[in-house]
């Protein structure tokens, strides 16, 4: 029951002379919220790229739900239930918020080599999309151009798109990046409603979010996971404190 939904073994990735991933080992249990933290330059972006399928590791493997997906490109992983949101907001600015989510729904709603019927009119796409927008609090903004949404609204849209298609694993890359205090709290509250039902990998700098949401935390430093455990264990870990949290008292 509590098996690993994601396993990463010995992931190595170099860019020329730069060793970005230096033998990453990671295990994420089904249903948990697992945070990955680490100082800047630790290689978080590279790691996410390899988890999502945008980057091929030089060595090592990524297993998703027991299956080796190392060679699988991003779209295939997404179809298997590995959804992600981007650190720098990546939506379709020219489409409405509703159309954005409908597209995400469409990827999981049968094939898209349909050439005649208006996609906007399909209730099998529209209804789930409307529900998702409601869920993230964008119900009233469904008809707005995504490009004209406020920053916090766009971050929420990212999450809605990631949730489309009922993914098994959510890979969230700094979901509260660039948000003010109030927006951050709202996002944290929303994400906690997802806890348990979905497995979440949360890559974050914001310690509020991390310590209030995470069941377990892994710490990435110079391309390696140096520690992995409960928030309490991580807080107490001397090596982590040295590398990341500094010599100050508890976060």
């Amino acid at each position: 029951m509590n098996r690993n939904i994601l396993e990463v073994h010995g992931l190595i990735k170099t860019f020329g002379a730069l060793l970005a991933s230096d033998g990453v080992e990671l295990e994420v249990r089904e249903g948990e919220t697992h945070a990955i933290i680490g100082p800047n330059g630790a290689g978080k972006t590279t790691l996410i790229g390899q988890l999502a399928g945008e980057l091929r590791p030089d060595r090592g493997e990524v297993r998703f739900a027991g299956e080796d997906v190392t060679a699988l490109p991003a779209p295939a992983r997404a179809r298997k239930g590995l959804a992600r949101s981007f650190q720098i907001t990546s939506i379709y600015p020219g489409f409405t918020a509703l159309e954005n989510v409908m597209l995400a729904v469409q990827a999981h709603a049968g094939h898209s080599f349909r050439f005649w019927r208006k996609a906007r009119g399909e209730s099998v796409l529209r209804a789930p999309a409307e529900r998702l927008l409601e869920q993230v609090g964008l119900g009233a903004r469904a008809g707005a151009q995504a490009g004209s949404l406020a920053h916090g609204e766009q971050r929420a849209l990212e999450i809605a798109m990631a949730l489309a298609g009922n993914p098994r694993l959510l890979l969230l890359d700094e979901p509260v990046a660039g948000m003010g205090a109030e927006e951050t709290q709202r996002m944290i509250a929303f994400l906690s409603t997802l806890k348990g039902g979905k497995t979440i990998i949360l890559v974050e700098h914001d310690m509020d979010a991390v310590f209030s949401l995470a069941d377990r935390i892994s710490v990435l430093v110079y391309g390696r996971i140096i520690a992995s455990g409960t928030p309490a264990e991580i807080r107490a870990n001397a090596e982590v404190r040295r590398a990341y949290l500094g010599e100050e008292a508890d976060a």
């Binding site: 779209p75 997404a78 179809r79 990546s90 379709y92 020219g94 469409q106 898209s112 996609a119």
Partner: protein, 311 residues
């Protein structure tokens, strides 16, 4: 401008086009019948390019190749005594689609500048192929043996041919509009807008783009079949790369990613060329800088100016 108004304006435009033959007869100006027919044929070609360039963001500099393939399909069959229109035009569409499949399969694996250069190179290859086949006139080309024959329709009659072209144009526009609003169209447009996002939600753009490429190629092949019937002369110049540039300008000037765009663009460019060439033999001297200026300052295109933003 809302969709209903837009549709109305378009319908009026098409009705005006339909009124041209009787008007041309009344005012005894067959030249305009000819000119407008030619413009409409290029509008069909531009509409096909609009799918992959305007909506799909694929900068294919080799689209004129399909005008050539379509034209040669008709011309070669006619040369060997096969005049059946359905067969000819069927081959024009099929052959163009097949060529598009091959070229697209190779080119779409690349992106950016590589894609532009490769599509251009492949068109040039077909152009050289056309030139080197002496049997069909080499680089001089050859006259079309006879126009395509359809039961009950005589394409030698200027009016009949005009209405056939108009009907095909309307059909292409309507089908194209449905296509870009369909699931397939949405994926193409999404991939243009944000490729990384599109991959992240689960679409692999390659196969959709390839399908769009094939569809565009086939439709352009049909335009080629129409063109060779129109000019009554088959020549590799159909595939000249400058023709590809002209098609791209029609799409851009008309307004990318809009249904009316290619029609407006074809009208604008060809009427402009017609006007300028009436003034001076060196009209390209003026057209060139005009095009440069239009790219620099008039990017929204005519459709954007007339209909307002957003299709």
């Amino acid at each position: 401008m809302n969709p209903r108004k837009r549709a109305l304006v378009l319908a009026v435009g098409l009705l005006l086009l339909a009124a041209v033959p009787p008007l041309a007869a009344i005012f005894n100006q067959p030249f305009y019948l000819d000119l407008l027919r030619r413009i409409m044929i290029f509008a069909i070609a531009a509409a096909s390019l609009n799918l992959i360039l305007g909506y799909g963001g694929m900068i294919s500099f080799g689209h004129a190749a399909y005008l050539g393939v379509g034209g040669y399909a008709v011309g070669v069959l006619a040369h060997y005594g096969v005049y059946d229109g359905a067969l000819q035009w069927g081959l024009a569409i099929g052959a163009s689609a097949l060529v598009a499949l091959v070229i697209g399969a190779v080119s779409l694996r690349t992106s950016g500048v590589y894609f532009i250069m490769i599509t251009l190179a492949f068109t040039q290859m077909l152009y050289y192929l056309g030139i080197s086949i002496e049997e069909f006139g080499g680089d001089d080309g050859m006259p079309l043996a006879a126009k395509s024959r359809f039961p009950g329709m005589d394409l030698d009659d200027a009016n009949t041919f005009y209405y056939v072209v108009l009907a095909i144009l309307v059909l292409v526009l309507v089908l194209g509009h449905r296509l870009v609003e369909s699931r397939f169209g949405m994926v193409i447009r999404a991939a243009k807008s944000n490729e990384a996002r599109t991959r992240a939600i689960g679409f692999s753009p390659y196969s959709y783009r390839l399908a769009a490429f094939v569809i565009a190629g086939g439709v352009c092949g049909l335009a080629g079949a129409l063109l060779v019937n129109h000019t009554a002369y088959l020549t590799p110049e159909f595939m000249n790369w400058t023709r590809s540039g002209e098609l791209m300008f029609m799409v851009i000037l008309g307004g990318m990613g809009s249904t009316a765009g290619p029609v407006l663009g074809a009208f604008a460019l060809l009427l402009l060329e017609d006007l300028l060439s009436g003034w001076t033999t060196h009209w390209q001297l003026y057209l060139g800088p005009l095009l440069v200026l239009s790219v620099l300052f008039f990017r929204r295109g005519l459709a954007g100016a007339i209909f307002g933003k957003n299709e």
